[in-house]
Amino acid sequence: MSAQALLAVEDLRVSFATATGVVEAVRGVSFTMGRERLGIVGESGSGKSMTGRAILGLVPPPGRVDARRLEFDGIDLTAAGSKRRRALRGRRIAMILQDPNYSLNPVITAGRQIAEAYRGLSRAAARERALGMLEAVRVPDPERVLRAYPHELSGGMAQRVMIAMMLAPGPDLLIADEPTSALDVSVRVQVLAILDDLVGRGRMGLILISHDLGLVASFCDRVLVMYDGRIVESCRASELESARHPYTRGLLAARPRIDGPGGELPVLDRDPAWRDAPGVCGAP
């Protein structure tokens, strides 16, 4: 890992006060990363999305974010005001959301939504850049897409618009929250290839949040496995197969295999003791 981490998270907690008490969605997550690809896997409700949103400072009210340390490129995010956080968002930390059907504004054209990401540029210049970005995400007819409303685009095309929009200002860290799970399987590969290309190696940090172990294992350098708001295992992606935590092993076993026996489907065991046990690290 590089001398100065791009992102350092220590004891991150996200909690929601509800009528029936405080619910902790993230309970003490710690990790550091450089300009590498980090995968976070877990089931829905494991707190992986909230971790991503907490880094961006976008936890919806009444959510509360606490951390002993939350540093991005040497900037202490816990102490940064909302203005500072906003200046970082988009320009230096960007996020791709899951379903382009909902995550793009339905009444604004794709071109305008991309152009919005360039702050302080003239309209024509922003449009020019947006066009360039659409070409970079391999949109076949960028002029048309520029003028199109989101509902006129296919899911794959809309997600490319999303990627173009988020990568437009050239961020240092990209958080991709299930970027392909709402897409058709055939489109997933293309979108992933585009993402792979644009993120590059060592150019920016990427946090890929997914429930898909295989995807994370093949796309990322390192993997964090989250369970019930905590990291239960962290290891190199290449060593995921030899993971030690019983939960990770359970997840691995639950993957459907085309060559596997067609017998009874494995059921995930859940041990209440995992809730508070320290996480394990894969082969050092």
Partner: protein, 355 residues
């Protein structure tokens, strides 16, 4: 007085299969409007039938001999079966013939044409106040959801829902006209300004500017301010409330997260992204609210002696002038239907998904 829920621009049924989409939608819309209008005429027709006043007696006097009575009955078409009478009625209305007003002895349509601009002027100024203040209030309430600005705006809106407009108008006159002298009194103009400006549009604010009579303009505005504020408050209550709930819905959408993740300013997220989407259904709300103001002004017009449609209808009603009452009712209903149609069309313009 109470508002109806926005009917929403529910997708209207297509008219005929096989036609091009837009034509089909347009024809379907037109058919639906025509049917509603026909229903409206049926209701006014039936109301006209159950009135205890005998139209024949009203025409011939109660000492007329039986033959004269019978002749009049036939002349008025009352011997025909009900459905034929109704068809004749529809035909007349479509020709713009609402009959003659007993009170003014003019054709009802002519009377309505004369009084309508006064109502239009009042309602338009009121809706402007309602939108320009109500929408921002609703947005602020939604953004500050659950905190004191939200509570203040909520209570302010509920009071606006609960206050009798005619009473508010009276109290306003007492305070701002009689005691403080800040505004002009009842009526559209002070007596010595009347007749100075030739009515062209009938809207005094417009006519006086066109005629180059700024004094008349200011005087008319002085008369308009209070009734428009009273009605404007009424529509503000409704608009701010609807804006709030529509904005709350929009602010919880995923595209808002995207907009924030892009680093857009909160103002841009709220006013461009969220309000841009909330505006789509809000247009329906505003159109319906405008329609309700055209009628909600009935009582306000009485209080402010405002010579508009509501004043005309009520006055005719109190003098048992049924032709005028029903004619006015049809016109108001038609305006309502027209506004509904307009909001439907605007919806299609504003929402790219509905085009």
């Amino acid at each position: 007085m109470a508002y109806f829920p926005p009917s929403g621009a529910a997708p209207r049924p297509g008219f005929l299969p096989g036609l091009p989409g837009w034509l089909n939608t347009a024809l379907g819309l037109l058919a639906s409007v025509a049917l509603t209008f026909l229903g409206l005429l049926l209701v006014t027709f039936l109301i006209g039938r159950v009135v205890p006043i005998d139209p024949v007696l009203a025409a011939v006097g109660d000492r007329a001999p039986a033959e004269v009575y019978e002749q009049m009955r036939i002349a008025l078409g009352l011997h025909l079966p009900l459905h034929e009478q109704f068809l004749a009625y529809v035909g007349k209305v479509l020709e713009g013939d609402f009959g003659r007003s007993v009170l003014t002895a003019n054709p009802v349509l002519e009377d309505i044409r004369r009084v309508f601009p006064a109502t239009l002027e009042l309602a338009t100024l009121s809706i402007l106040l309602g939108v320009l203040i109500g929408v921002p209030m609703g947005v602020v309430a939604a953004v500050r959801h659950g905190r004191w600005p939200d509570h203040v705006i909520r209570v302010l809106g509920l009071v606006g829902y609960s206050v009798p407009v005619f009473w508010l108008g009276l109290m306003g006159l007492l305070l701002f006209y009689a005691n403080l002298g800040w505004v002009a009194g009842p009526g559209r103009l002070d007596i010595y300004y009347e007749g100075l400006v030739e009515p062209v549009t009938g809207l005094i604010l417009v006519d006086s500017l066109v005629a180059g009579e700024p004094e008349v303009f200011w005087n008319a505005l002085g008369h308009l301010v209070l009734p428009a504020s009273v009605l404007g408050y009424f529509s503000l209550a409704y608009i701010s409330r609807m804006t709030r709930s529509l904005m709350l819905e929009q602010l919880s959408q995923e595209y808002i997260v995207t907009a924030r993740a892009k680093g857009l300013s909160e103002a841009r997220v709220v006013w461009r992204h969220a309000l841009g989407n909330a505006m789509v259904p809000l247009v329906t709300v505003i159109a319906l609210s405008y329609g309700s103001l055209l009628e909600g002004s009935v009582l306000t017009e009485i209080v402010f002696a405002w010579p508009g449609l509501g004043y005309y209808i009520t006055n005719s009603l109190l003098n048992a002038d049924m032709n005028a009452v029903l004619g006015g009712t049809i016109v108001v209903g038609a305006v309502f239907i027209g506004l509904n149609l307009l909001s439907d069309l605007l919806y299609r313009v504003l929402d790219p998904r509905a085009r």
